[in-house]
């Protein structure tokens, strides 16, 4: 995991739900590019076309509310979103993002669409050019470790191989 994460901002409001992040009709596939090509379609049909690798989403409260679909953080990740910063997250989206290796942070950040910002996950801070530094909620160390490993699958594999080494 890269840290800090520098990128250009996309602004979204409060209560962005999983039905707008990735509508239900696109879920039945394992092709990540399908999810990516419809990311945020319900609220901004042009988003998937215009988002650039490394961009950062900054949103209001309750980001990712609604269903448990892991395709929501996957859609954002494979569309190129490097990190999501929101005032708060719906809890299942929060878990899913960490599990699929999409960095995120709870923070109330003052910035505008197109601003360049820097998210420092290890220190729980977000810096906005000309506007200063905003303190966020630093993730607990065990979640940072899952993110650093690249998500829960990679983390589980690491733990398994450590256990096997111990047994040998």
């Amino acid at each position: 995991m890269e840290n800090p994460i520098k990128g250009r901002v996309w602004i979204f409001g409060a209560d962005i739900d999983t039905d707008v992040i990735i509508p239900g009709k696109y879920l039945r596939t394992k092709d990540m590019q399908v999810f990516a090509s419809h990311a945020m379609e319900g609220i901004d049909p042009e988003f998937a076309k215009n988002v650039k690798a490394g961009d950062i989403i900054v949103a209001g409260n309750n980001f990712g509310c609604g269903s448990s679909r892991e395709q929501a953080p996957l859609a954002l990740k494979y569309a190129g979103v490097a990190c999501v910063v929101a005032k708060s997250f719906a809890r299942i989206f929060f878990r899913n993002a960490i599990n699929v290796g999409l960095p995120l942070m709870e923070a109330d950040v003052e910035c505008q669409e197109g601003d360049e910002i820097e998210v420092d996950l290890l220190n729980g801070e977000v810096s906005v050019q000309d506007k200063g530094t905003f303190e966020g909620n630093k993730l607990p160390d065990f979640l940072l470790e899952i993110l650093t490993d690249g998500g829960l699958v990679a983390h589980r594999k690491k733990l398994q191989s450590q256990e096997m080494k111990k047994e040998n």
């Binding site: 739900d17 039945r28 609604g66 448990s68 829960l152 699958v153 589980r156 398994q160």
Partner: protein
């Protein structure tokens, strides 16, 4: 000294757990359906773990796109069936058995005091039986498949009391929508809600399932009704294993205590496009309706179909009306007691027990600009089809609206 959640997590984690503690807990039952099991099984395979932790504790119903609507869905379901056989998971429920949140309670997996985790956000339904039940995503489910354990932050709890009695024509769904309107879509985020009071005690098991089903729509991690005689009566001869009911201690600490009066509640609807956009039916009467949908894990049970049949008996629906029983046993019971005949004679369309059009994949999605009165639990933009408008309501309001083709107060029919 704890809330129901603190006590269940203390048992499941084998350590005294207080609100906001991070714990690693043993999961009693794990559920994934045809939708979420695809990514969960994928992640499980990538983890390179050979066998699931305990095949008897995994439950997989096929309900979301059941029967499959195209080759892709069919092939993905085929893969999951193969994996289920390979892992020797006995609790597999095929297409047509019903919606996961109906199938688990009917088969005794939703039990007081248990920790039940589902790869579906409405898994909080099982709180109606005094379980701590919550939803997770696919990779978390893979982790449970592999280890039987998952990390949790023990939630703070809200104590929500409902005094009084619901009036005539006012149902559990109206109460539920009212409480969501009061709490807000994120009002209970990260928290568990414990429900108390005479209006809750009076609810049938079916009504409590409606209530707990929608706890997530106020952001809650879990909604829990303390088990009582009605709970135990329902569970008799169904329970998958012995259980110990868990109740809050008198000195339990709550993040918030709120109290409402059921007598204040009229039939309610959640208006497009957010579940907490709740209004009493009086403010919406006359709104044009294109489709009515009665079913889902929120309101597809026998009691719900009976209420709808009571309103539609001897009459004809004015707009297309889709009825989907929550399970095969619901459908059978509705056939046996004549409810289904009444509904079909009134002109409704019947589909396979399962999720139907709720998630916008098949069996009755909306066209651009169309309006649906639905007994489901979500009305987000685009959920049942791009450009559709969804009003969430009780089966009574839905049936009354089906008769007139516009939003109608069921007390006036």
């Amino acid at each position: 000294m704890g809330t129901i959640s603190e006590k269940i997590f203390s048992r499941a984690a084998g350590t005294e757990a207080k609100a906001n503690d991070f714990v690693l807990a043993d999961v009693d039952y794990a559920m994934a359906h045809d939708g979420t099991s695809v990514l969960a099984v994928n992640a499980f395979k990538e983890m390179e773990v050979e066998k699931v932790w305990d095949p008897e504790r995994i439950v997989i119903p096929f309900d979301h796109i059941a029967p499959a609507n195209n080759e892709t869905a069919a092939s993905l379901q085929h893969e999951i069936r193969d994996w289920i056989k390979e892992q020797q998971i006995p609790n597999f429920y095929e297409v047509g058995e019903g919606i996961c949140h109906q199938v688990l309670p009917e088969n005794g997996f939703a039990l007081p005091g248990k920790l039940v985790v589902g790869a579906d956000s409405h898994s909080c339904t099982y709180g109606a039986f005094g379980a701590f039940a919550t939803g997770v995503g696919a990779t978390d489910m893979a982790e449970i498949f592999a280890t039987g354990k998952l990390w949790f932050r023990v939630p703070e709890s809200i104590r929500m009391t409902v005094e009084g009695e619901l009036g005539e024509g006012v149902y559990a769904k109206d109460l539920t929508l009212y409480l969501i309107g009061k709490t807000g879509i994120a009002g209970a985020t990260y928290k568990a809600v414990e429900f108390y009071g005479p209006a809750i005690s009076r609810l049938s098991v079916s009504g409590r399932m409606t209530l707990c089903n929608m706890a997530i729509e106020m952001g809650a991690k879990s909604g829990i009704v303390p088990p009582d005689g009605k709970t135990f009566e329902f569970l008799k001869n169904r329970e998958a294993e012995p259980f110990d009911p868990v109740y809050a201690d008198p000195a339990a600490e709550y993040a918030q205590e709120v109290c409402y009066d059921a007598g204040d509640i009229e039939p309610q609807l959640a208006c497009p496009h957010q579940v907490d956009n709740v209004k009493p039916v009086g403010e919406l009467e006359g709104t044009h309706v294109d489709q009515v949908f009665i079913g889902t894990c929120t309101n597809g049970r026998l009691e719900d179909l009976e209420v709808a049949a009571g309103i539609l008996k001897g009459k004809k629906v004015a707009v297309r009306t889709i009825v989907i029983p929550a399970s095969r046993s619901t459908l059978l019971a509705a056939i046996e007691n004549g409810t289904m005949q009444t509904l079909l004679k009134a002109g409704v369309t019947l589909s396979t027990p399962g999720c139907g059009p709720c998630l916008g994949a098949h069996q009755g999605v909306l066209g651009e600009g169309e309006v649906c009165v639905s007994t489901a639990n979500r009305n987000f933009r685009g959920r049942m089809g791009k450009g559709g408008f969804i009003y969430l309501a009780s089966p009574a309001t839905a049936a009354a609206s089906a008769l007139s083709g516009e939003i109608t107060d069921p007390r006036k029919v």
